[in-house]
């Protein structure tokens, strides 16, 4: 008798359609998720941490660690109009983007409110890959209206991707046999063979979300576990370790990278008027290229540039060691003039400082800034008001993140 696999599973599991999807690396990651600390991202079962978030964070900063980016959204945009469609959508000038290069971009509504940020990979003269945190197909389709020679493919489920971050990553990849990887410059792309292949199915970009030396590895799903096994074999001596959302969040905050739901509210999901943000408010001025004659939101952003943004995302060095999570900010110690709010905060082990990202009313940016911090101590609630110092340089930007070749270990 012939059995239909699909119907049988759904008979066995009445909730089959509701369950979280398994990442292409799931078999290995599940084994290493000692704490069963699962949450989800874009419908995928996704680790908050595997063993201990602090430990994983220290792996990123001191050795090497992997982060599953299969759930990240990935789109292939190809065809003769691909460049024109994307260049009109994002605020940066893609004419400056060369083949086999990656660039960090953001895109806005007509009103210049930030929809999302992400990266664009230029894979060929008429072929691009856009990656971003949230599903964006609807916006891409809207943006594609009027461009006929164009194809948009959602690769999210069909491309396995692993972020590999930390000071020893180059060393490990070399050991894995990726010849010449040490010559890969930040934001460049190279292709390699793996598992005896000869058509270079592994794409490596020197990119990441930790502010450290690191790479992102892209491969077809059927080779995902081969990649994992070869990488973990090579990284064994270097204490390679998977890390989850918690450690990512620490590393990216030190690097000053913004997160949706923290620093910004995606404009297309924002209900209240101007509860979303603009690139200027988020300090992404450098992504907005007014030399480009047109891009979505340009005229609104031009107006904002001339008027000056209402808020500014700032980096704060905060007195004491209590993280200023969700603190309100004031212009005075008495907390009578509220001027903003903390978006992300932590005690940074590498910087050895109490750091935060915060949104501040631009009018008060040059004055004194005080944070009212709430913290608990053995079931008792406490609060204190402490001084914050505006920080201009990045909290964490090690040379190795930029050097080519990176320092050897």
């Amino acid at each position: 008798m012939k059995t239909d696999n699909k119907t049988q599973t759904s008979k066995l599991d009445p909730y089959a359609g509701e369950r979280l999807k398994r990442s292409h690396f799931h078999p290995r990651q599940a084994e290493l998720n000692l704490r069963d600390a699962w949450s989800s991202w874009n419908g995928y079962k996704f680790a908050d941490y595997y063993y201990d978030e602090e430990y994983e964070y220290f792996c990123i900063r001191n050795s090497c660690a992997t982060y599953d980016i299969c759930p990240m959204q990935k789109y292939r945009i190809s065809g003769a109009d691909a460049h024109f469609m994307l260049n009109r959508m994002v605020t940066r000038d893609l004419n400056k983007l060369k083949e086999d290069r990656v660039t960090y971009v953001c895109w806005c509504t007509d009103q210049g409110r930030l929809i999302d940020d992400g990266t664009i990979f230029k894979l060929g003269s008429e072929s691009f890959m856009l990656t971003c945190g949230s599903p964006s197909l609807a916006w891409l389709r809207k943006s594609a209206l009027g461009f006929e020679r164009l194809e948009i493919t959602d690769l999210s489920d069909d491309l396995a991707a692993l972020s590999f971050q930390g000071p020893t990553t180059c060393e490990v990849l070399k050991k894995m046999g990726l010849e010449g990887i040490q010559n890969l410059k930040p934001f460049n792309i190279m292709y390699f063979d793996i598992g005896g292949s000869s058509h270079k199915p592994l794409m490596v970009s020197r990119t990441g979300f930790t502010g450290d030396l690191g790479y992102e590895l892209w491969i077809a799903p059927q080779l995902a576990l081969t990649l994992w096994d070869e990488l973990y074999a090579a990284g064994d001596d270097y204490g390679i370790q998977p890390y989850g959302e918690a450690a990512t969040n620490m590393a990216r905050l030190e690097a000053g990278f913004i997160m949706p739901g923290m620093e910004f509210n995606e404009a297309l999901k924002t209900v209240n008027y101007q509860y979303d943000q603009t690139p200027f408010e988020l300090n992404l001025d450098w992504l907005v290229d007014f030399n480009k004659p047109h891009f979505n939101g340009r005229s609104a952003l031009l107006e904002e540039r001339d008027r000056g943004p209402k808020y500014r995302l700032v980096k704060l060095d905060i007195a004491g060691n209590k993280p200023a999570d969700e603190s309100a900010l004031y212009a005075d110690q008495k907390c009578s003039v509220e001027i903003g709010y903390v978006t992300s905060a932590m005690w940074s082990p590498v910087v050895k400082a109490n750091i935060a990202l915060a949104m501040i009313d631009s009018d008060y940016i040059d004055g004194s800034i005080w944070a009212e911090i709430y913290y608990g101590k053995e079931l008792r609630h406490h609060s204190k008001v402490v001084r914050c110092v505006l920080q201009n340089a990045p909290f964490w930007a090690p040379d190795r993140a930029r050097l080519t070749p990176p320092p050897a270990f």
Partner: protein, 518 residues
């Protein structure tokens, strides 16, 4: 290299009106028309040797102010007398509607009509200043915008409390409710509702802008009654052309624009001129398009130069036309039972449900089983339309969908043409014997022959979401567009379509005012 102040795309009446105003102000103007004739949807052309007709067959609200500003009567345009509107009845008990009276109805309906007319004329009078005005920009705090708002408020107040309330009540009422409140005669109700519906995707039961559309048509000198100029609509188009040429303007036919050129640098984008089908490039300080908004933005300009949500709004403009044309060349006068000379505007729609049912068919992509229509014989008023003793019949057939389920095959078209002729023949028994030639144009045909998206009467639906300061959509509703140097002046702009001239007039004024800053 010639560098014009203004290039105008399209020599429909709005393009010509706009061009004439600009030329009279000393601006250099070049009008580029895709087809070989002037007039756009109002162009008069020979559809059979010796027989002429236009898609638009009569005037109902051409602006008297434009006639006087441009002195059109000194250039060969002689307005026609208002024609009665005749609701055709199979037994010959026709209803005849004129501005101040009715024939063929009860005393009660007649009395109601007098009150009804007076009320509508007060409303029309209140709205009349706004058709030739730029609508305020939403959210604008500019003085001019605020005064327009204030004026509208004041005009409403001046109506008096009772009329004001009544205006607010009826403005968006379904035509059917308005008719049922006032009249008993089914035929009368159908005929009076007609003017609020023609050209739109709405029927008597549709709440929306049908009463406003009626009031819009009442803005002209005959208060909404149709008329045919003494020498035909052609004489109006020719007069506009003459005024333009006398003022130094130029017009080129057979010059289809394929592209609106823009220049982009660090100061942004700017329209610089146009490219023609043969590759010729023409330069101008401003490009003013009377082509419909969808065509202007999506085909001629290109999404690449526009904002994403704006592009999608333009794409969603409702442009599907629902009016088809039947043109008949007749070798003698067609007689209509019970009518001496068929020199009025005749309407075939026995009751409001006939209109509604035809609409029901069309809204699901069907061809109407019983078409409703408006008929005129323009050759009676203007003898140049047909050889001596011969005649032309022109019918606007309502609720013929632009996209027919299964497509407009030759068979589908022939069937509807036959059905339409049969329908008219019920009122005009000798019609079939008189026909020398018949032409049937679906909205799809009109789209390709007249370069109007969807073949739509108003270029895009004249409905609440697409009128006044929302016409065609915000950010393009004040004749200016998001692209500096590119303006709109066609029926897709406020106040809308029909042979009226408002969009052309208003656009010219806007361009001149904006030009002071250029």
């Amino acid at each position: 290299m010639q560098h014009y102040d203004n290039i105008i795309i399209g020599a429909g009446h709005n393009g010509l009106v706009c061009a004439a105003y600009l030329a009279k102000k000393g601006q250099s103007v070049l009008v580029l028309e895709a087809s070989d004739t002037l007039g756009g949807l109002a162009a008069t052309r020979e559809f059979y040797p010796g027989y002429k007709v236009g898609v638009a067959h009569s005037l109902s609200h051409f602006s008297a102010q434009i006639v006087s500003d441009l002195n059109l009567t000194a250039h060969g345009y002689i307005p026609g007398a208002p024609m009665p509107t005749i609701g055709l009845d199979l037994e010959g008990k026709h209803v005849v509607v004129t501005r101040d009276g009715l024939r063929g109805v009860s005393k009660k309906d007649l009395d109601s009509y007098i009150d009804y007319r007076q009320l509508l004329e007060r409303f029309a009078g209140m709205l009349s200043p706004f058709w030739l005005k730029t609508m305020p920009r939403i959210g604008s705090k500019k003085f001019a915008d605020l005064t327009t708002f204030a004026q509208l408020g004041l005009k409403l107040r001046l109506l008096g409390k009772r009329d004001m309330g009544e205006f607010m009540r009826v403005a968006t009422l379904p035509a059917r409710d308005l008719m049922d409140e006032n009249f008993d005669s089914d035929l009368l109700k159908a005929v009076l509702s007609w003017d609020g519906l023609i050209g739109s995707k709405m029927a008597p039961r549709s709440p929306n802008a049908t009463v406003l559309a009626m009031l819009y048509r009442m803005s002209g000198e005959h208060h909404g009654a149709s008329s045919i100029p003494k020498d035909g609509i052609e004489s109006l188009i020719n007069a506009l052309h003459l005024v333009l040429v006398n003022a130094g303007g130029q017009v080129r036919c057979n010059a289809p624009v394929t592209k609106i050129n823009v220049k982009g640098d660090s100061t942004g984008l700017r329209a610089t001129g146009v490219e023609l089908a043969d590759g010729e490039i023409l330069h101008a300080r401003r490009v003013i398009s009377s082509a419909d908004p969808k065509r202007t933005f999506l085909q001629l300009l290109g999404a690449e130069h526009l904002e994403i949500e704006f592009t999608n709004r333009i794409n969603r403009l409702r442009c599907d036309g629902y009016v088809a044309k039947l043109h008949l060349a007749l070798d003698g006068l067609a007689h209509f039972s019970g009518i001496d000379i068929p020199d009025g505007r005749m309407i075939v729609a026995p009751h409001m449900d006939s209109i509604e049912f035809a609409f029901d068919d069309a809204k699901y992509g069907g061809s109407p089983a019983q078409p409703v229509m408006e008929i005129v014989l323009p050759s009676i008023n203007d003898s140049s339309m047909a050889p001596d003793g011969k005649h032309v019949l022109s019918a606007h057939v309502m609720y013929v969908p632009y996209s027919l389920k299964g497509g407009w095959t030759a068979e589908a078209k022939a069937n509807l043409q036959d059905l339409t002729i049969d329908t008219i023949a019920q009122y005009s028994p000798n019609l079939r014997d008189r026909i020398v030639h018949a032409e049937f144009l679906t909205p799809e045909d009109i789209e390709s022959s007249h370069h109007v998206t969807g073949g739509h009467w108003h270029h895009t639906e004249l409905s609440m979401d697409q009128m006044l300061m929302m016409r065609p959509t915000y950010q393009a509703a004040q004749y200016a567009t998001p692209i500096p140097g590119l303006f709109l002046c066609g029926a897709g702009s406020h106040p809308g379509g029909g042979l009226m001239g408002g969009p052309g007039h208003n656009a010219a004024r806007h361009v001149l005012a904006a030009g002071k800053g250029l």
